[in-house]
Amino acid sequence: MSLLEINNLQTHFFTSGGVVKAVDGVSYHVDRGEVLAVVGESGSGKSVTGLSVMGLIDAPGRVVGGSIRFDGREIANLPGHAMRQLRGARIAMIFQDPMMTLNPVLRVDTQMVETIHAHREMSKSAAWALCRDTLGRVGIPAPDERMRAFPHQFSGGMRQRVAIAIALLNKPDLIIADEPTTALDVTIQAQILHLMQGLVEEDGTGLVWITHDLSVVAGFADRVAVMYAGEIVEQATTDSLIEAPQHPYSRGLIGSVPSRNRRGARLAQIPGGAPPALNRPEGCRFAPRCAYRMAGCDAPQSLRNNVRCWRADELPAFDEVPA
């Protein structure tokens, strides 16, 4: 039994323009101590999947189908108070823009201590000390002083460390990190990545790492789930996905990572853009952009051997594809 098991999840937004099927039958699982990377272009439904797990989908959105099992217990559409007890205690989430995730008018210590007190009784001084130690653990210098500072007195990278510290406070079993490094400089990105890797290894935490940047994933994630237009189009271990991507979309993603262009060729880009969420192709959703499209691709595609493409087996091996 995995720590988190999402099965055929459907999260839809009921807008005036129609029903946006942001997440349309997504399944993935994460074990304790495992890192799952979820990659895909903007709008593919990565965040909405994560927020569904957290029970943080607001109207007009709703989880309309499928199951989310956490530690053996069904948590999709759990009543509000029960979900609140899980949030921030057993499942934590970190967001993309560290400039926006901390409340600008509250001191860091306030925002940390309240996270503990939302979930357990602890004396103020003990909670404060725990928060300070956690700040130290995520590599913030002079944590005693920094506890009393306001968010605007930190750099972006340091703020993200504060957010990570907050996520760690209640020793969660699972952390969902939604592009936590995207807004940061490349060098800071690497530091944060390294930090997270160390932390989840120490604590045996399960980690869902959402990103649209495949180059971040290698050497960090155990497995990768590739999302496209509300669906998972391929799931594989990181090594096999990078060495031998099956789905034409995964191939395109890998081809567009700079280090893959061994022969010094220009960066390959997938032509076109993702289909509008309200008007997706009937058959394979990637078809309008796919170089391997044929007549049979007009039928809806289902996952077979973790790849959502009926031609996957007959496509040429990845290395033969000109970069």
Partner: protein
């Protein structure tokens, strides 16, 4: 500290400019001699009185004499009451202040929760009622509201007296009708009348602030931390919508004091507003001048207080007004 001193110097300068404008304005309006001197008086008596009042001297000299007196706290005697003008005004100030204070408290204590509710639950019947009410409070003229209040609550229901200030009680050295039941009964209608327009404004500000802030990432993060809803709303949200509301309250408090005229007239509330209307009618120059300068000073003090409050609410704002 440097900041406070600079602000005070600015305030003094502002008060000087205002005193000059007020003096010039009054100088232009009319010659008090015509009112003060008995039309039967001889030419010699006229000249003597004009010289005695200093009205024969050039304008700038008159201004400096006036300024010198003001600096000593002497605004001259009221032509009508023949008593110090400043004293007349200060006597009536508590009545106006307590009315404005009660109105602001009503506007804030009702307006913030109603506005936040409307912002958090848009589209519900409750929030639509609140917003419709705020449009009404906004657009119906003040005097008409006053008349309706009197009609319904005094005349028809008989709950509140029609006019006057009622008993005054004393608490911690402050004398105010806030401290007696009878005083409160007298104050209820004029305070509500004065409050309605601002209540509508506070509701709108609280609602738009709530809608803006609730969509921010830090609110989502607060929920992701598993905080309880009351803490999210009362701490994370409320703290962030206070700034525009504090501005409004600070600014409108001055306005309430200066322009309580209509309400005070209708409810025969013995405050500064009623005094000033009477004084203007009677060309009582010293009282009008003293009143305007008192109002300017009140505005300056309120501005200073609002700035100080900002820096308490939002740590990003330093006292010199720059945003980090």
């Amino acid at each position: 500290m440097v900041y406070v001193i600079r602000r005070l110097l600015q305030a003094v300068f502002l008060a000087l400019v205002m005193s000059f404008l007020v003096f010039t304005g009054i100088f232009a309006v009319g010659n008090p001699v015509d009112i003060l001197i008995d039309p039967e008086a001889t030419q010699a008596e006229r000249v003597r009185l004009i010289a005695q009042l200093g009205l024969d001297r050039p304008f700038h000299e008159q201004y400096f004499v006036f300024l010198g007196n003001v600096l000593q706290g002497d605004f001259g005697n009221s032509f009508v009451y023949n008593r110090p003008a400043l004293g007349l005004i200060l006597e009536r100030m508590p009545a106006t202040l307590e009315l404005a204070f009660a109105a602001i408290v009503i506007a804030v204590v009702l307006g913030i929760p109603l506005g936040m509710y409307a912002g958090l639950r848009p589209g519900t019947a409750g929030s639509q009622t609140v917003m419709a009410g705020s449009i009404l409070g906004f657009s119906v003229p003040n005097f008409w509201q006053a008349i309706m209040l009197i009609m319904i609550f005094s005349v028809m229901l008989g709950w509140f007296p029609v006019s006057g200030r009622g008993q005054v009680g004393e608490f911690m050295g402050i004398r105010s009708s806030l401290f007696t039941l009878n005083g409160l009964q007298h104050m209820a209608l004029p305070a509500i009348n004065l409050a309605i327009g601002h209540l509508a404004l506070v509701i709108r500000l609280a609602r738009s602030g709530t809608q803006e802030v609730k969509a921010q990432d830090f609110i989502r993060f607060a929920r992701a931390k598993g905080l309880r809803e009351p803490r999210i709303v009362l701490v994370h949200l409320l703290r962030n919508i206070l700034i525009p509301i504090v501005t409004l309250v600070g600014m409108s408090f001055g306005g309430l004091i200066a322009f309580a005229v209509v309400t005070e007239s209708i409810f025969a509330w013995p405050g500064m507003g009623k005094l000033i209307i009477d004084s203007i009618r009677q060309l009582d120059r010293p009282v009008v001048v003293a009143y305007l300068i008192v109002i300017v000073v009140i505005f300056i003090i309120l501005n200073l207080l609002v700035d100080l409050l900002y820096s308490l609410i939002d740590p990003r704002i330093r006292l010199d007004g720059a945003k980090q």
